[in-house]
């Protein structure tokens, strides 16, 4: 029995039975029918039994449907389609533990930079910040880090698209957190934002190398390369490096474009598993 005393009018029941109901009115009627035996009885008298069964099946399915978590709800409010939000929410690193680890790392780096106010550039912060999205992307998709990797590879949804979606999610969250941390270092001026282009270059370069070396090895290699490049160009007394100056940033921007082109070129290799993903050699024999 409906607690409000309201019942679905006969005309509306007929429209529902004739499949003329559309959301959100359809949901409203079905929600009432779920709670009101009287209206269900009237519907059973008025409608084709197949229509009634199909309606209950739809209702059961909706009641079973996964309830979106905070991240999915937020993405939905931003206009992200429901299925894309679900794919993003399944990203292994988009967990509170990962976000907390990024926040703590940034806090340490920003504190270290804050304590070294004598420097012209916040070296600890600029050295560490580009590595965070690199690590995040490395552990967001691939064999060994995503438990459903094998299923994703053989699914019709392009693996590269899934990878890009997850990269965008990781980059988005780490960039937002790092930008917030940058605000804690206002005394350094615009140079405090010099982590952005290195972060982009390192992430893209790592992606380009992933089909050949795997996500973790590629990220470790690129991270070591970044440390070596920084160490060879930095002045440890002032924290300055040509990488953080205008000229260096232009070079990094060009590097980002080249790395993006490389990622697009290796895109087909993401559609099969690593190591055995290459196309067969051309001398394959023909079937009889």
């Amino acid at each position: 029995m409906s607690s409000t005393g309201w019942h679905v009018p006969d005309e509306d029941l007929r429209r529902y039975a004739d499949r003329e109901a559309a959301p959100p009115w359809l949901w409203s009627v079905e929600a009432h029918l779920a709670a009101c035996p009287g209206c269900r009885h009237r519907l059973a008298d008025a409608a084709d039994p197949d229509v009634v069964r199909a309606g209950w099946s739809r209702l059961d399915a909706e009641m079973d449907a996964p309830r979106p978590g905070p991240l999915e709800s937020m993405l939905a409010r931003l206009g992200v389609p429901e299925h894309t939000a679900r794919l993003l929410a399944a990203t292994p690193v988009l967990r509170w533990s990962w976000l907390a680890a990024v926040a703590v790392t940034l806090a340490f780096a920003a504190t270290a930079a804050h304590l070294a106010q004598a420097m012209a550039a916040p070296l600890p912060f600029l050295a560490v910040a580009p590595l965070l999205p690199l690590v995040g992307v490395a552990v967001s998709f691939g064999p060994g880090v995503d438990p459903t990797y094998e299923l994703a590879v053989v699914a019709p949804l392009h693996t590269f698209r899934l990878l890009l979606l997850r990269c965008a999610a990781v980059l988005g969250t780490t960039t937002a957190l790092t930008a917030a941390a940058s605000l804690a270092l206002p005394g350094y001026g615009p140079v405090v934002l010099a982590w952005l282009l290195p972060a982009l270059v390192l992430t893209l370069l790592s992606l380009a190398l992933t089909p050949r070396f795997g996500p973790v090895t590629a990220a470790v290699g690129v991270g070591v390369g970044w440390a070596a490049l920084l160490a060879s160009t930095v002045r440890f007394d002032t924290g300055e490096s040509m990488l953080f100056a205008a000229g260096g940033q232009v070079v990094l921007a060009i590097g980002a474009v080249l790395a993006a082109v490389a990622v697009v070129k290796v895109r087909p290799a993401f559609e099969t598993s690593r190591h055995r993903g290459r196309a067969p050699r051309p001398e394959t024999r023909r079937a009889p």
């Binding site: 449907a65 559609e271 024999r285």
Partner: protein
């Protein structure tokens, strides 16, 4: 012999890893029904299944799956749209419920509209008997139930080709029995390729069997034909035969001997396991001789 076009036609598939050859010129065809892929550990079963499932490509050879060439981007996509795959040791997001996991795989399979997708998720979970566990977290399910969740995910979209990699490993006898029933049912009207190293799986659900050993195909045919390989070579006796390829004491106290008979032995009907042991042993002997 079936007259319909094969679902899968493979010719001389070869794949080499840096230190070993996983597949060495394997040819076969698959038709509707359940085909068992039998072989010892390291025989190349998983490699072959991953090639058929389009997860990896062979180094050489020819493969046509569901009428498409999986080496091309379009062919691979066409195959994947009609494929169900249960990998060896399938991974799960442990915090997902059974419904959420299958729903996630459904999105990967491009079932986008939420209402239709959820109906399909309910259908496949009901097919594998997990109606009552839809809302249970994966980490709270038993091993057998997890395998059924993975099978449900493989059956999404009513695929024409289902590839199952050792789905009965780690299950208790009752779970194995239930799972075999599900596999047998899922093989009606479609092609199922089932990898296993348990001859009971082949006996109970497979219409055809392929035996792989050291990356090579050693046998292809019906299960009864595999058993027939040991015809006239299996004996029961009160003592173990010293010259037998394999001999063991059975539950009733007598010995089952494959190969040379001991004194006072009686010839008995061979099983698939006997035929398999004969085949693998003969292959091993030939390899040692070479």
């Amino acid at each position: 012999m079936t007259a319909t076009a094969p679902t899968v036609r493979a010719f001389e598939l070869t794949l080499r890893y840096p230190r070993r050859t996983a597949l060495d010129g394997v040819s076969f065809t698959l038709h509707d029904g359940v085909t068992g892929l039998l072989g010892p550990n390291g025989a190349g079963k998983t490699t072959l299944l991953r090639i058929v499932a389009t997860a990896i490509a062979a180094d050489s050879g020819e493969l046509t799956t569901l009428g498409h060439d999986p080496r091309t981007v379009a062919g691979r996509l066409a195959v994947r749209r009609r494929l169900g795959y249960l990998p060896q040791s399938p991974g799960f997001h442990p915090n997902f419920t059974a419904f959420e996991f299958v729903d996630y795989v459904a999105i990967l399979k491009e079932l986008v509209p939420a209402r239709r997708r959820h109906e399909e998720v309910r259908r496949v979970l009901a097919t594998v008997g997990l109606d009552g566990e839809r809302g249970v977290k994966i980490k709270a399910l038993s091993g057998g139930m997890r395998q059924r969740v993975a099978l449900a995910a493989a059956l999404l979209g009513d695929p024409d080709l289902v590839v199952l990699d050792e789905p009965t490993v780690g299950l208790d006898p009752e779970q194995r029995m239930r799972f075999r029933e599900l596999v047998a049912e899922s093989g009606e009207g479609r092609t199922v390729l089932l990898s296993t190293h348990q001859t009971e799986d082949v006996m109970t659900v497979c219409q055809r069997v392929i035996v792989l050993d050291h990356g090579r195909s050693r046998f292809q045919g019906e299960p009864t034909e595999l058993a027939a390989l040991a015809q006239g070579r299996v004996w029961t006796s009160t003592v173990r035969s010293p010259g037998a390829l394999a001999a063991w004491r059975t539950g009733n106290g007598s010995y089952r001997n494959i190969g040379e008979p001991p004194a006072d032995a009686a010839l008995i009907e061979p099983t698939i396991e006997d035929g398999y042991l004969m085949l693998i042993d003969a292959a091993g002997t030939a390899k040692e001789a070479a």
